[in-house]
């Protein structure tokens, strides 16, 4: 019980600390190296949207290089208006870009930052694939397919057990 509580407490504190840090950190002025960042995208999914007004998408972008990068935009045949959203304190707001740190990752997870599709051309169903092109400040664009999952799906990387 004691151990569990302590762990909960620690998790709560570190989670909040992480939030506070990611929320406020100014641009980490990365080492300016010419090497193009090596980016890989994993666990990309879209929970089946409720209607055709909007949908969210989640993924983890890993940067295995010493060069920091930024996710600057996305395009998809599903929508002409894809936005990058950051969520803080139960509020989400659109941002121009999100950092993909050197030797690190950008996690777009449920409850946190996400990609938002506005005005869907069709309403995807569980099992469908949605093609998306990700654009970065330095790396070449990456094309991926999102798996459309149940609305209750939270992704493997989620800490929501």
């Amino acid at each position: 019980m004691n151990a569990r509580t302590t762990r909960t407490l620690a998790a709560a504190l570190s989670l909040t600390a992480a939030l506070a840090i990611s929320g406020c950190s100014s641009e980490p002025e990365g080492k300016t190296e010419d090497a193009t960042p090596k980016l890989t995208v994993s666990g990309a999914f879209m929970p089946e949207p409720v209607d055709d007004k909007m949908a969210g998408a989640f993924m983890v972008i890993t940067n295995d290089s010493k060069t920091p990068d930024k996710l600057t935009g996305l395009t998809s045949p599903l929508s002409d208006d894809l936005q990058i959203h950051e969520t803080k304190d139960q509020k989400m707001r659109q941002v121009a870009s999100l950092d993909v740190p050197a030797n690190g990752r950008l996690s777009l997870e449920r409850g946190g930052s996400h990609v938002m599709f506005m005005g869907l051309k069709t309403k995807p169903k569980v099992g469908d694939k949605v093609k998306v092109e990700l654009k970065f400040a330095k790396a070449d664009p990456v094309t991926i397919e999102l798996d459309v999952k149940d609305r209750t799906y939270t992704g493997q990387s989620s800490n929501a057990h």
Partner: protein, 217 residues
């Protein structure tokens, strides 16, 4: 018991830190949000030390008629959530989790459960759009809209802080949803359990049969 209180206190303190850390906007004091004290974690639920009274709330339902929370949910197990429909992540996730868990209940219990979604963005969530959105999740869900100040007062009385949707300079709207789902007991009509954002469909599936009876999970 004591440690749990410490945990809750840490959460609150940490949340306050996170809120003030960025300091972009002066943290305008958002009135008095009722303090939450929990006796303990029962799985994913927090059992409240001091349960909440059901707010005296009359809003408009998805058919455009007045809906009285206390009257319509009296003696019935009830879940209340504050959210908005232009929300791609947590709001539909929360409602879908509850929808899936509800379907796992025996039919008689399904009919007892009242799930109430109160919009935090009444300007965009009309009775009609709210009705359409909820129907896609579970047609039994009740959607309420109305005056924002009334909604905010009710949310605050349940320890849930929400702010009005705000239009940014670029025309985009920043809305906000509540962080918790509150469960009301059919025995006492009091809000006695609190569920956070990370509550899963399995958690709700496990706890709903208890909530139907007004028991602690």
């Amino acid at each position: 018991m004591r440690t749990t209180r410490v945990t809750v206190a840490a959460f609150v303190a940490a949340a306050a830190l996170a809120l003030t850390a960025c300091g972009g906007e002066p943290a305008k004091s958002s009135g008095s949000v009722t303090q939450i004290t929990g006796t303990g974690k029962a799985g994913s639920a927090t059992v409240l030390d001091r349960p909440f009274d059901k707010p005296d709330l009359v809003l408009t339902d998805t058919t455009g008629k007045p809906w009285n929370l206390r009257e319509q949910t009296k003696g019935r197990p009830t879940l209340i959530y504050f959210g908005y429909t232009n929300c791609p992540d947590v709001c539909p996730l929360t409602m879908s989790n509850i929808a899936v868990a509800r379907k796992a209940l025996p039919k008689a219990d399904q009919d007892k459960l009242q799930v109430v979604f109160v919009t935090t963005d009444p300007e965009r969530d009309t009775p009609e759009s709210l009705g359409k959105w909820l129907k896609a999740q579970d047609p039994s869900f009740i959607g309420l809209t109305g005056d924002f100040a009334t909604i905010q007062t009710a949310a605050r009385s349940l320890g849930i802080g929400i702010e009005a949707a705000k239009k940014e300079a670029d025309g985009s709207v920043v809305s906000m949803h509540g962080a918790q789902v509150l469960a009301f007991s059919p025995k006492t009509d009091e809000g006695y359990l609190l569920y956070g954002e990370s509550t899963t469909v399995d958690d709700y599936t496990k706890d709903l049969p208890k909530i139907i009876k007004g028991e602690n999970p």
